[in-house]
Subunit: 327 residues, 4 copies
């Protein structure tokens, strides 16, 4: 029965995201609040496979709310993708007396969780922790708001030097398949244009936008490029623009991994706290193979399969806004 | 007719909030995008009364996106509350050829806007700019997210010293009638308790919570107090707690006006950008006496009277979360 | 002999300061580098009195470099001021096999260290950790640069709202007996005036300065008040100014304890790192009853008595600069 | 005679640095304080050549103290390197009635200033504004402290993700010919090693250091690489390390231009303020062809030729500290 959960295991998996610690803290405290024992599993699924875990207490999660990364450590486990790996994981799961698993991560981690839950009939709940915000079933993933602020703060700094020298900067932000960070940090950073995987922009369109800006006497310009953009890397794009507007003083900046770190924002901490509590409460209520989400400011549970498969669309209205403001 | 708007005036009024500049920028650029002239009115309604205004261009709003405060300046106008004051304002409004007015501010400013619009049959749209988040008709007001982060960052710093000395801190945050900042910065800052106007907590309940924390060996504690709380000032509350738990080493910190300033967060910039564009588009579509809002991530227009009168409730679920996490 | 130090104890004492953790880390790593065992003593001298200490290793101080406060905890010990208290402390000192003591703190802590060293002929070295920068024998104390940045960032935020409303703000910063934070954050924050313990300014002089600023059409003004200023609290001063310039819109903000916290700046981390290593090297070279300092960018050792007694003067030239820039 | 300076021109030149605005503000306000007119020259020497300048007032420099970049804009002028260019510049200099020139920039800008001063017998004073800190004649250049903090904050963020995944990161910081930023952000960021132009380290030594760290169970490591390092780019070095320790999970992050921007730190603002005032006072006292500096916390004037030619050495002691702390 649903209410028989007595011991929960929690792990973080895949790329780390700011707020993962806040989510673990909430899982731990909510478990203890409801009289459930809780074990922290280290290094993602590998820790489950190797039995690398220990019981956590209220004090174990003191002072982690404000810290980036994940103190449980994270990894992408190749072994867990094999049937043998998952069987080993299940052995340790039983050996430690665990009744349910909370997985904090992104789509790759959730696929594994889904299979594991099916294979061994184990209750599993996912918490969306990824800066990419590319999961359906929740308005925001944990870490996304922080990443948008980190990227935008970097853009603010780059704009200082772009303005001082009247330069054109191409700033590459994270987002392999999704342009959420790019779109939001472009609007927030006042970029003249953004190039994202979801939107079929051409170099010609970009050049025409830049020339229009120049006509409006725009002294400096910043173009945001999402990592996984179809037009090539930010260097490729800069090269092509340079061919067409040779008098531009162009620079490229790839923000890189710093976007994954940093102390989480208030929004990410509150989001992670709510989701962590909701994961424990969901397990108590018999939920499984679902991902916790917050939709329209309300907790919701979406089947993992659905959360992974449905493609989350960028907001069309924000695109429109970005264009209007770039004049 | 609605589409005949040719010249818009924009002003900021009441307490300033981070992101007001981003909203002005969006009003200006959207106006120009749609071929509308736009005038910036200085010092709120006083500027309308005194004719203190000038035309703004794309370049007028360069480099203001990232800046706190409002470059149009703000004020609370006593004169505008009088019929004579508003009459003078209307004279200037006509003399400058304005067709519509965009007011960025809080409930006091909107009341004035509503009356002005009715008295002189002038199209007016409000944009919610206040750190208090106490307006219905929008999930977030402009400046609220920044204020929550500013308060929480201060709490993070205070926790450093609280932990080092095992002290109990009472931290007073802004919010005269609403506990939004208090609730969110309490969850985000990991506070043991929060005291807000909306919630009828007693000193006894607080003391019992604190004693329970002590039993759990909590070495340091932070209690968040909303400015307008019913139990008195943060100093009063600290005094009463001290009477009951005399061995506690207690300190009080009133965060004060720094919560109003600072460069706006990405969320506030995007929100302000969307609302600024929507205000101009709303005017073009014939909207008036409404406040622009974003509800469930969609632009909406709410009659000003409704936005002001309906009391926005704190999220019950967040209260519950805060309690669970404070063990 | 000097080189026989085999086991060092390290503690933090008095008000905490950002960078204390970095100093502890450096003491620990330098000790291990030189083959010395190192014990962390908790809660300052009380931990020595109660035997509250444990051995620290390279990994014990991982991930503390960036954190404010002190993980060794701090306190002001009344018992250590008594002969009996110090005798108990010495018993534990010997019982744990300690050969020397490193004390990170301010003048109060150093006085105790000096007496302890004399009474029991124990090698003791002090590291100046206090945000007040009020110790001779070093150009900067650990935590001072961070506090100057924290205060100035708060002033930047307050200026946003001061400018938006054309207000006069009195901002009270820490510094009971010394105006270092006040002077530096005043210049750094562009204040119109500052009131510090070291400088015999009158209310009349302040009012005359403010009136001059008004004549220069200064729209907003910020006056910095050091906590321990001779003219009374920032509220008292604001009151008096209000009497003379009643049309001013005046606000007061007391920054308070947030100035003690936060992740240390690069300067404070480098300073703490250098001093921590130098403390261990000093003990190996036979130094005792001295405070480590950095003067003109070089490590120096000053007798504790001298460091405490000599009053460190504010830089006259900076005063002059502040006045010239406030026009 | 020295005291006859009645009109000063000020420009910023070369790579921008945080605090340049604070220096311009100080030059402007000090000039006005001493009854001297002051002109802002835009886009460096090009502005002098093209007569692109205007008078500045107290209010012209309001609200720029806190802003990165330079509102006077900056550039590297090819034309000023020619005799014809400088002749045109001198014509405009005379035509606008200027008596003296203040140049805020780095070594390239100072070389031009020195020649210009000699060719036309014009009083010129340089203010060191460069993040690289590679000028003799001053302990710190304007912008260096801010850049060290910006780089270190990025390293803090990268460490979050490095720790979570137990990765080795190579972080490339600015510094074409000088390792100051690298050394300080390495100590401040807790790096295991740094590779700088001044120090003849080998890949073998680096690998041996890394293996030692691994033996001490260091889970994550950050290596700082100065841009202009002799072992190649950070990518090259990462490649070579990978060959020798193939099981390492290695990532590279090039911080890039964000290191140039951002609101200046308190130290940089105070430094720039002092230097700006000292430049004006130096001109009044008859100084020319000198660079203002702060050495051992005292204002000094160094002949420009000397400031440029003498190579500023990295602090040997800091190197030693970095090594001890990296165990």
């Amino acid at each position: 029965m649903a209410t028989e959960i007595k011991k929960i295991g929690v792990l973080t998996s895949g790329g780390d995201a700011p707020g993962m610690n806040a989510a673990v803290r909430a899982v731990v405290r909510a478990s203890i609040y409801y009289g459930i024992d809780v074990f922290g599993i280290y290094k993602g699924y590998d820790g489950l496979i190797n039995g690398n875990m220990e019981q956590l207490y209220v004090r174990s999660v003191s002072n982690i709310l404000s810290r980036g990364g994940t103190f449980l450590l994270s990894a992408r486990s190749k072994e867990f993708r094999t049937k043998e790996g998952r069987a080993k994981a299940y052995e340790n799961f039983k050996a430690n007396g665990l009744d349910a698993l909370v997985v904090i991560g992104g789509d790759g981690s959730f696929t594994g969780a889904d299979i594991f839950s099916q294979e061994f009939d184990v209750p599993v709940i996912g918490i969306p922790g990824t800066i990419d915000n590319d999961l359906s079933g929740t308005d925001f993933t944990i870490g996304y708001d922080t990443a948008c602020n980190t990227a935008r703060e970097a853009i603010d700094k780059i704009r200082d030097t772009a303005s001082s020298h009247e330069r054109l900067f191409f700033v590459e932000v994270m987002g392999r398949d999704a342009g959420f960070i790019a779109l939001n940090s472009a609007i927030g950073g006042g970029a003249v244009a953004m190039i994202v995987p979801e939107h079929n922009w051409s170099i010609d369109a970009l050049i025409s936008r830049l020339k229009k800006g120049a006509a409006n006497q725009k002294a400096s310009n910043v173009v945001i490029v999402a990592e996984g953009c179809h037009l090539g890397s930010s260097y490729d794009i800069a090269e092509k623009v340079k061919e067409h507007i040779p008098h531009y003083d162009i620079r490229v900046s790839v923000l890189g991994h710093l976007q994954r770190g940093g102390s989480p924002t208030t929004l990410d901490r509150v989001l992670a706290s709510r989701m962590g509590v909701a994961a424990v409460e969901g397990l108590r209520e018999g939920q499984s193979k679902v991902m916790v989400g917050v939709i329209n400011n309300k907790i919701s549970y979406t089947p993992i399969g659905e959360a992974i498969k449905t493609i989350k669309r960028l907001d069309d209205d924000e695109f429109r806004i970005a264009k209007i403001l770039s004049i």
